[in-house]
């Protein structure tokens, strides 16, 4: 493993250089207890110890609203709109990298999603070992405490003034070497980073699932038909879609048209959508395949716990805890759902 040491005071110089060719985003504190990735500027205070970015990082690859084509109403021509903004996300936690890796895979299946792909291909990701675990997070329990790929560099703060930086790609290494006098890490420093990871993972483990995640798909499958359970869980569901929209692995969207005021040209755009919203599964003529909140609620957990697993062999949940936070009714919580179902099945056996 190639690794370097970067001192805190070397970082501004690097950020300067990077920001000349990339839109650089870093974690910042936007309000007490709330963090977001925001554009880096000279005076930006980087929240190295952030616990969770409030918004999911999919916003960088699949913005809430994104033009797909431009069209002309008169000659009926259309042309693609594909953004290729060069972006650097600096300070991404492993669970969020895992979510991006999962999106990469899903958006590449059955034909590539070119809009996603182009933004993704132009984005550099620098990972960061989490210093704190969000209260609602359980990523250690769903195999998201570490990632082996999906980053160009991975940063671990091994002392108040120094980071050990693992190289994930040639591009990452090149960008790192733009700094003056960046030195290779010693074996002792690598060991220090490893210990810090283990300590972080141990802290996170206390908020894990309490059982191995690989059992989840089977439990979910068994519990699908337990209407009583799903009905009870979804009783206070607002059908507001907050859990979908803050989920870093949810990617559903709606497609709509908008014309200019001359009614001559227009654009077709996609906008975030979610399976918890009432009209999501409605077809022409009004028939709705999931008319009840509990059916939509169940579908969401089946996707997270089973359907995505069936497709790519991992859960559709990375344990970030965003939905737990975002749900005002406090019913969105994959950890609780998975655990309750496991408990119920165990008691029946």
């Amino acid at each position: 493993m190639v690794a370097y040491i970067v001192y805190l005071q070397q970082i501004p110089e690097l950020l300067h250089k990077w920001s000349s060719s990339y839109d650089v985003y870093v974690p910042t504190r936007v309000e007490e207890h709330f963090y977001e990735f925001r554009p880096w500027q000279e005076k930006t205070h980087i929240a190295w110890d952030y616990d969770l970015a409030y918004s999911p990082l999919k916003v960088f690859f699949m913005p809430p609203r994104e033009d797909l084509i431009h069209f002309d109403l008169h000659n009926y021509t259309a042309s693609p709109v594909i953004k290729k903004t060069r972006q650097l996300l600096f300070g991404v936690h492993p669970y969020d990298i895992k979510a991006i890796n999962q999106l990469d895979q899903l958006m590449g299946m059955d034909g590539v999603d070119v809009n996603y792909q182009n933004l993704r291909d132009n984005t550099v990701i620098f990972g960061l070992e989490p210093a704190r675990v969000a209260e609602t997070a359980f990523w250690a329990g769903v195999d998201a405490a570490r990632v082996d790929f999906g980053f160009d560099l991975f940063w671990t703060r091994i002392s108040p003034g120094a980071f050990l930086v693992r190289v994930g790609s040639a591009q990452g290494e090149e960008m790192l070497k733009m700094g003056s006098s960046i030195t290779s890490a010693t074996a002792a420093e690598k060991e220090a980073a490893r210990r810090i990871h283990l300590r972080a993972a141990a802290r996170a483990d206390k908020q894990g699932l309490g059982f191995t995640w690989t059992q989840v798909p089977e439990f979910m499958n068994k519990f699908y038909s337990r209407k009583l359970y799903w009905r009870e869980k979804a009783k206070t569901c607002l059908s507001c879609g907050s859990c979908n929209l803050v989920c870093p692995t949810c990617y559903c969207f709606d497609i709509q048209d908008e014309t200019d005021d001359h009614l001559k040209q227009g654009k077709r755009y996609r906008q975030w959508d979610g399976c918890m919203l009432e009209g999501f599964s409605r077809i022409a003529g009004g028939l709705n395949f999931r008319p009840n909140p509990w059916e939509r609620y169940r579908h969401r957990y089946m996707r997270k716990g089973k359907y995505i697993f069936d497709r790519i062999g991992e859960l559709g949940c990375v344990g970030c805890g965003r939905c737990v936070k975002a749900c005002t009714a406090k019913i969105a919580n994959p950890k609780v759902v998975f655990s309750e179902i496991r408990e119920a099945i165990k008691n029946e056996a």
Partner: protein, 276 residues
């Protein structure tokens, strides 16, 4: 630099003919402006755009045409895109994407009998399969076509159905749920036609399309006739927005109707509670 490609960009097509099929349903004949054939297979769908109004999925109703760039859609006036389609004059343009999705396995049907069960607008995509088989009539065995409609005034393609029913090599049976004074034929849901047909279960495939409530009942009838599940094919309707397996609207449990379907062998969906 290579120009950007996007699967979301429709191709222009021109409306060449419009024929009223019933109060709400119209048959639209389009020609691709490229002059190329649509290259669809029976059962596939396309996305049709009316710019500014939106895009909606439709099953192609005409059979594949290797020598012809025209194709037909039969559309019920039910939402904004279908309304806008009905308001189009011939010569107007639309955008199309696709064809998308799975199709009926025409090669597997070669040398075998086919039983069609079409409920209501389900006849629209069935027509693509049926006409394909009629064009290659000698390659297939017996063809039975069951058509169920709610009310006589909602029947579509009546002239064509009459023409087909006069053929000796196709057995056509029709029924309506609610008759009127003019109706002379069978009355009842589509399953009431089953006692009137004879099939060879060893050699018969089934293609059925209709409203969701229809499937279970017709599948039960097929089981009674001894037709194995792996020779039953259904097409399911969902709201495909992207057609590319991404947008999520057409999910049926863990599968996507747009890329895994819309045509399914029954064994593939028999265990999906959300299928019907």
């Amino acid at each position: 630099m290579k120009p950007d490609f996007s699967p979301y960009v429709p191709r222009p097509a021109t409306l060449v003919a419009k024929n009223t099929l019933s109060e709400y349903v119209t048959l639209f004949e389009f020609a691709q402006d490229s002059g190329k054939t649509l290259a669809h297979r029976p059962g596939q769908f396309i996305q049709v755009s009316i710019y500014g109004v939106g895009e909606a999925p439709f099953s192609v109703s005409s059979p594949p045409q290797s020598d012809h760039h025209h194709f037909e859609l039969a559309v019920r006036r039910t939402g904004s895109v279908t309304n806008a389609l009905h308001n189009l004059q011939t010569g107007s343009k639309v955008g199309i994407r696709g064809p998308y999705g799975s199709y009926f396995p025409m090669q597997k049907f070669v040398g075998q009998d086919l039983l069609f069960a079409a409920g209501g607008l389900g006849y629209i995509p069935i027509r693509s399969v049926l006409y394909y088989m009629l064009r290659h009539r000698e390659e297939y065995g017996d063809i039975i076509l069951l058509v169920g409609t709610r009310h006589p005034r909602e029947r579509i393609f009546t002239d064509q159905l009459e023409e087909i029913s006069r053929r000796s090599d196709v057995h056509v049976l029709e029924t309506v749920d609610v008759p009127d004074e003019s109706w002379q034929g069978n009355v009842g849901v589509i399953t009431t036609l089953f006692p009137k047909i004879r099939i060879n279960p060893e050699n018969t495939n089934v293609a059925m399309i209709g409203p969701p409530v229809m499937y279970r009942f017709v599948i039960d009838e097929c089981a009674k006739l001894g037709i194995p599940q792996e020779r039953i094919y259904v097409s399911l309707e969902r709201r495909m927005k992207c057609g590319l397996g991404k947008c999520g609207h057409c999910q049926i449990n863990g599968i996507n109707c747009c890329t895994d379907g819309p045509v399914f062998c029954y064994t593939k969906i028999a265990n999906l509670p959300e299928a019907f």
